[in-house]
Structures are given as structure tokens and as C-alpha cells.
């Protein structure tokens, strides 16, 4: 009797078993064929993006309303602080203008190949899933706006991540804290190079530091530009210290609550393989093709 009931239950449950198998198959497919599953994901995301965008508007108002209420108390002090900061920044602006002119003159002198002008697209964050598994964001600009895979994503404070998937009007940004994120970096003071590796928590680690280099807490970490993924000297993080046997850093950008980001196209290939020096063709062969 019980056996018959169990058999009946099993029979009634076969669609569920099928779904379960489909789920497992998807998990494996995502691991074995990330390309096709990625583009499938991008197209579904593109469809859902307008809805999420709409939902993000009231959410943003609620969040900013709460922030606004909290900030109402010290508006005056904030204003004074900003005025003072503005004065300092204006000085820096003049200094930057002067340096730019000088830089241009010196480059003309040395005939250094100019860096390509950076193209910027600003975008709003429409999905921020919290990052228990993957630290990524969805933004509301895509291939139609000039966003492409490999481009750097920044906020004012520093580098946030890199575009990894694009739809027509949406794109996914892999944050520097993600487990699979690797960014070639350089320490500002010692100029030692390392790799900033995400760990799916708030503090990425510095790996592959040269032997004997012990970065001081507070030291600034910049992109090194090695590998051609990012341009050199973008600020990323600050060293917080040693945790276990790893040096940990704190990202300069507050990654937990990003509302808008800048996608920057530095005209780099964004492809590590392509950035490696290609075997130089023999001069004779090069001439013969002309």
C-alpha cells in the first residue's frame, strides 16, 4: 500500500525531477560553455532591463529620501566643508591645466605617442544583487551606447570593475571584489607590481608581490597598465594590512552602494592575449608586403 502510494507520488513528480535535471544541466552548461550561456543571459537581461529601470526609480527616491533626512541636520556644515574643498580643488584644477600644457609641450619634444582620448559613457546601476556568489552590477547602458566588453568602469574615487557582458541597452560589470576578478596593479610608493585579486568579500587581496615587499597600511594601489586591460595609474584601493597570510586592500570606491558609474573606453584592446608582444616580423618580410 505504502509502496503503491510512493510509486504514485513518484509518477506525479516526474515533471519536477525533469526540472531538477534541467537545473543541474544549466549549472554545468554555465561552467562548460560560458560563452553561449552568457549571451543568452545578456538577451534576457536586455528584455528585463526597462522594467528594472522603472523599478529602480522609486527605489532610488526612497533611498535618497532616507539619506536626505539623515543629512538634513548637518547641511550647513556640509556646505562649508564643500566650499572649502571647492577652493582647494580649483587650485588643483589650475595646476592640472598648467601641467597639461607642459605635458603636451614635452610630448611634442619627445614625440611620445599620445594616449588615445578616453571616451566616457555614464550609466545608472539597475541591479545590484548583493554578491554572495558573484559581485557584479547591471547598468543601463549597452552596446548601443558604445559600451563594450573589457572597458573600465569607474566612479569618482577610483576603479570599480570591468564590463564583462553587453546587451543592446544593458551591460554587466564585474566588480574588482569578485572572486574571478584580477587586476594588474602597482603600489604607489614602492612601485612594486602585484595582482589585485577579488575574494567575494569587501577586501580584495594583493597577490604575487615581489619577495620582501611589505606594503604599509594606507599605501595607495594603482593600476599598473600591464596586460593592457586598464590604463596605468588609475587609483583602485588602499592597503589595509595583513590578514592571515594575505595583504588585503580596501577599494576606494564604496562598492556596496553604487548608483551611477562611468564606463570608460581608453581605446585599449581589453584582451590580455592581444596585448602580449607579438613576434616581430622580419624587416625584410615587412618590406616585401609593401
Amino acid at each position: 500500500m505504502a509502496k503503491a502510494r510512493a510509486a504514485g507520488l513518484l509518477k506525479a513528480r516526474w515533471p519536477v525531477a525533469l526540472l531538477g535535471l534541467a537545473g543541474f544541466a544549466l549549472l554545468l552548461l554555465g561552467r562548460l560553455a560560458p560563452g553561449p550561456t552568457g549571451s543568452f543571459r545578456a538577451s534576457v537581461t536586455d528584455l528585463a532591463a526597462p522594467v528594472l529601470q522603472l523599478m529602480a526609480v522609486p527605489a532610488r527616491h526612497v533611498a535618497s529620501g532616507i539619506d536626505g533626512l539623515a543629512a538634513l541636520g548637518d547641511l550647513r556644515r556640509e556646505n562649508e566643508r564643500l566650499s572649502a574643498e571647492n577652493a582647494v580643488l580649483l587650485d588643483w584644477y589650475r595646476e592640472a591645466e598648467r601641467l597639461r600644457a607642459e605635458n603636451r609641450a614635452l610630448r611634442d619634444l619627445t614625440r611620445l605617442r599620445p594616449r588615445p582620448e578616453a571616451q566616457m559613457v555614464s550609466a545608472r546601476v539597475i541591479v545590484d544583487p548583493g554578491g554572495a556568489f558573484v559581485d557584479s552590477l547591471l547598468i543601463d547602458a549597452g552596446a548601443a551606447d558604445g559600451v563594450a566588453k573589457g572597458q573600465a568602469v569607474l566612479v569618482g574615487a577610483g576603479l570599480v570593475g570591468q564590463v564583462v557582458e553587453t546587451g543592446a541597452h544593458s551591460a554587466r560589470v564585474l566588480l574588482i571584489t569578485d572572486l574571478s576578478s584580477r587586476v594588474p596593479v602597482r603600489l604607489r610608493e614602492s612601485r612594486a607590481t602585484a595582482v589585485l585579486a577579488g575574494r567575494n568579500d569587501r577586501r580584495p587581496a594583493l597577490r604575487y608581490l615581489p619577495e620582501g615587499v611589505e606594503p604599509a597600511p594606507g599605501e595607495l594601489v594603482l593600476t599598473s597598465g600591464l596586460g593592457g586591460l586598464f590604463p596605468p595609474d588609475l587609483p583602485i584601493a588602499r592597503v589595509t594590512g595583513r590578514l592571515g597570510d594575505e595583504i588585503r586592500v580596501e577599494p576606494l570606491a564604496g562598492l556596496s552602494r553604487l548608483e551611477a558609474v562611468m564606463v570608460v573606453d581608453y581605446g585599449l584592446s581589453g584582451d590580455v592575449a592581444a596585448a602580449e608582444p607579438a613576434p616581430a616580423p622580419a624587416p625584410a618580410a615587412a618590406e616585401s608586403t609593401e
Binding site: R13, P15, V16, L19, G20, A22, G23, F24, A25, L26, L27, L28, L29, G30, R31, T37, R41, V44, T45, A48, L52, M55, A56, A59, R60, V62, A63, I66, V125, I126, V127, D128, P129, G130, G131, A132, F133, V134, S136, L138, E165, R172, L179, S180, R199, N200, D201, S256, R257, L258, E259
Partner: protein, 173 residues
């Protein structure tokens, strides 16, 4: 707070029938949209699980397992996580609740809540292992455990909200 038991045996077409799916999608959106609820990012991964549990328990006919599966798949796609992970988790949740339903619907609310907490933690552990399989590396378990714990702590509020909505929709007793 009076816990919902089996709300209304009569089935009416229309609004109440759409409510489980709509609230599940709503919680999914809350979990994904940044800043929707202060601190939502911390509970994001498991927030929709409370709706799966609630409806599977009190109105299983209105939230079939395949709907839970699809909601999970949507979450996987939009969150950028391993594809199929939450689809499997929500499917398993709906099925587990269905199996235990007879026992749980008779139980006092505290037991229903404890059941949810247990389910959330169990699924967090499964998610941790499965994501290791899908990503090729184990993520730090801290965030997951925190998300499951916080979602479990929030269950009474969500359960109250969902049953209030269901009653308001005109299907309650």
C-alpha cells in the same frame, strides 16, 4: 499576529490567483534593485525564498513548483550568478514544503518559522556547495550565512504582509 493557516478553501479566479506570482516577482525585484530597501543587498539572495515557502505552504495550488523554478532562473539571469542555482533551490524548497505540508499547516506559527529558518540555512549550505561546482571555487560562506539568517529573521514580517495582501485581495476567510 495571527498566523495564516490554510487560507480559504474556496478558489476564486482573478486577483488572488495572481498574487503568489506577483509577490514572488516583487520580492525578487526588491532583492535585485539597488537601494530599494536599506540594507536589502545583505538579504538579497534569499528574500524571494520567503514567498516560495509561504505560498507553497498556504496556497500550493497557486504557486506550482515550476513557477518557483522559473522565478529562480530569472534571479540567476538577472543577478549574474551561476545559471540554474536559484532555480534548483526554489524548486527544492517548493517540493520540500509540499512534502511537509500536512505537518506544517497544523503547526503553530513558531514551528512554521523554525521550519523556514531551517530551510533557509539548509539551502544556503546547498547553494554554497553548488556554486563551488559552478564557479570552480568556493565563495566565503559568511555572506551566504548572513543572508539566510537575516531572511529567516524577517520571515514573520513578510508572512504577515503576504497574508494581509491575500486577505485584501478578497480571498481570505
Amino acid at each position: 499576529m495571527t498566523p495564516p493557516r490554510d487560507m480559504g478553501r474556496r478558489r476564486r479566479p482573478g486577483l488572488p490567483a495572481l498574487l503568489p506570482g506577483a509577490t514572488l516577482l516583487g520580492l525578487l525585484a526588491v532583492a535585485l534593485v539597488p537601494g530599494a530597501v536599506p540594507g536589502a543587498a545583505r538579504i538579497a539572495p534569499f528574500l524571494p525564498l520567503s514567498a516560495v515557502y509561504f505560498w507553497s505552504l498556504h496556497r500550493p495550488a497557486l504557486l506550482p513548483s515550476w513557477a518557483a523554478f522559473l522565478a529562480g532562473l530569472l534571479q540567476d539571469i538577472l543577478s549574474g550568478g551561476p545559471l540554474g542555482l536559484f532555480a534548483l533551490l526554489y524548486l527544492a524548497a517548493a517540493e520540500l514544503v509540499t512534502v511537509q505540508r500536512r505537518f506544517l499547516t497544523e503547526a503553530p506559527f513558531s514551528l512554521i518559522w523554525a521550519g523556514f529558518a531551517l530551510l533557509a540555512l539548509l539551502l544556503a549550505a546547498v547553494a554554497w556547495l553548488l556554486s563551488g561546482l559552478a564557479l570552480g571555487a568556493l565563495v566565503p560562506p559568511g555572506r551566504l550565512a548572513a543572508a539566510a539568517g537575516l531572511t529567516a529573521a524577517l520571515y514573520p514580517v513578510i508572512s504577515w504582509g503576504l497574508s494581509a495582501l491575500y486577505r485584501r485581495a478578497g480571498a481570505g476567510t
